[in-house]
């Protein structure tokens, strides 16, 4: 059986290698990829959009539909995770820790209540000792990660970056909070309603900009038509439109990342996990 697998792997690899013989050389100016559109992009992007980063210009302006539906796909992923995994039944067992002494309390009756505050804190069933080093370092780092995420989103049109990357960095800063403290800390600060609204809002910003361009008399996602709405010189308006679109993408990606994480680690209960 192993021999059989080996033969199949060798055959597939050989076929793939045989297929690469027909590919154009790397950097060949006569290859199909660089004969039709690339020249146009390289020659005209800066004067048409005033965006120095060609990748962002192609992604958010020339191929705006593509990116819009990518954002919609990300939103659908979050929605599917919510619909498949969300479980509204409350858990019976709850654990609390008395912070000064470290004594654990186990509540089996769902009716008993204990307010978590300075003296008692929620505990997950998978017992995690409170680690001061990790908590402190994460508390210091999380704001910087979030500022960096905003920097990446805002610099999308000037340097590498953009909505998807910035959104992922922002979402991972929130996930880091859930890992270093516990899931309840995150869910208390970033509620489910907030996340759902923001995931939809990101897509809405993107589509809304397109529709706004349509209402101003242009095509869908034709940012140049937004010039009367925004106080800027008309040449720079496409860059501003792209920035708006990137912000929408960033918000949607951030919210969907956190929704997927919370739903998977807590098996849809949003109370404890990891």
């Amino acid at each position: 059986m192993k021999f059989f697998g080996f033969v199949i792997v060798c055959l597939t690899g050989g076929l793939l290698l045989y297929g690469t013989m027909d590919l154009p050389d790397w950097g060949d100016p006569g290859s199909p990829a660089s004969t039709h559109l690339s020249d146009y992009y390289i020659e005209h992007i800066v004067e048409e959009t005033q965006v120095p980063n060609l990748v962002t210009a192609v992604l958010a302006d020339y191929r705006g539909y593509d990116t819009m539906f990518e954002t919609a796909v990300v939103f659908c992923a979050g929605l599917a995770c919510f619909l498949l995994l969300r479980d509204f039944r409350p858990k019976k067992d709850r654990y609390f820790r008395h912070v000064p002494t470290g004594v654990m309390l186990h509540f089996k009756n769902p009716q008993t209540r204990l307010i978590a505050g300075n003296e008692f804190e929620h505990m997950d069933k998978d017992w995690v000792p409170s680690d001061m080093i990790i908590k402190t370092v994460c508390r210091i780092l999380i704001p910087f990660i979030q500022i960096y995420a905003l920097y990446v989103v805002a610099h999308g049109d000037f340097s590498p970056g953009g909505g998807f990357q910035g959104g992922v960095i922002f979402g991972s800063s929130l996930i880091l909070m859930a890992i270093s403290y516990n899931l309840k800390t995150l869910v208390k600060r970033v509620t489910e309603k907030f996340l759902s609204v923001f995931a939809a809002l990101g897509v809405l910003i993107y589509v809304g900009l397109g529709v706004a361009a349509m209402l101003m008399g242009g095509h869908f996602l034709d940012y140049g038509m937004l010039a009367p709405l925004l106080p800027s010189d008309p040449g720079h308006i496409r860059a501003l439109g792209m920035l708006g679109v990137e912000i929408g993408v960033g918000i949607a990606v951030m919210a969907v990342m956190v929704i997927i994480y919370i739903n998977i680690v807590s098996e849809g209960r949003h109370d404890e996990g990891l």
Binding site: D131, I133, I134, V137, C138, I140, F144
Partner: protein, 111 residues
């Protein structure tokens, strides 16, 4: 002057490479999980420090406000790596201990 700056930059870059090489060799040669994390956590941090120092010195060839700003940003990377890398190593060791992985000892090897 330029030659001196180049020599300093090359010195720091080579120092960083030596530290990275030591870290890579250590990860392969060390006997168990915990001792492998030791080169991974320490030498990588120091290697990044040395390499970024070399790059900063090279970047300050033409001294101006722009290059100074870029250099400060590069040192910010080092600062955050210094914070994050030992913490990550610490949490991995912590998780390993909690999962019940015994540290390697000489006796175990003789059996």
């Amino acid at each position: 002057m330029h030659i001196l700056i180049n020599i300093a930059a090359i010195f720091f870059l080579v120092m960083g490479l030596v530290f990275f090489l030591g870290g890579a060799v250590g990860i392969i040669r060390m006997p168990d999980f915990y001792s492998r994390l030791h080169p991974a956590g320490k030498l990588d941090t120091l290697g990044i420090f040395a390499m970024v120092t070399g790059l900063v010195i090279f970047n300050l060839h033409h001294f101006s406000l722009e290059t100074l700003l870029l250099s400060i940003k590069m040192f910010l990377i080092v600062f955050f790596v210094f914070l994050a890398s030992p913490t990550a190593t610490h949490s991995i060791v912590d998780a390993g201990m909690r999962a019940g992985l015994r540290p390697w000892t000489q006796k175990k090897k003789k059996e």
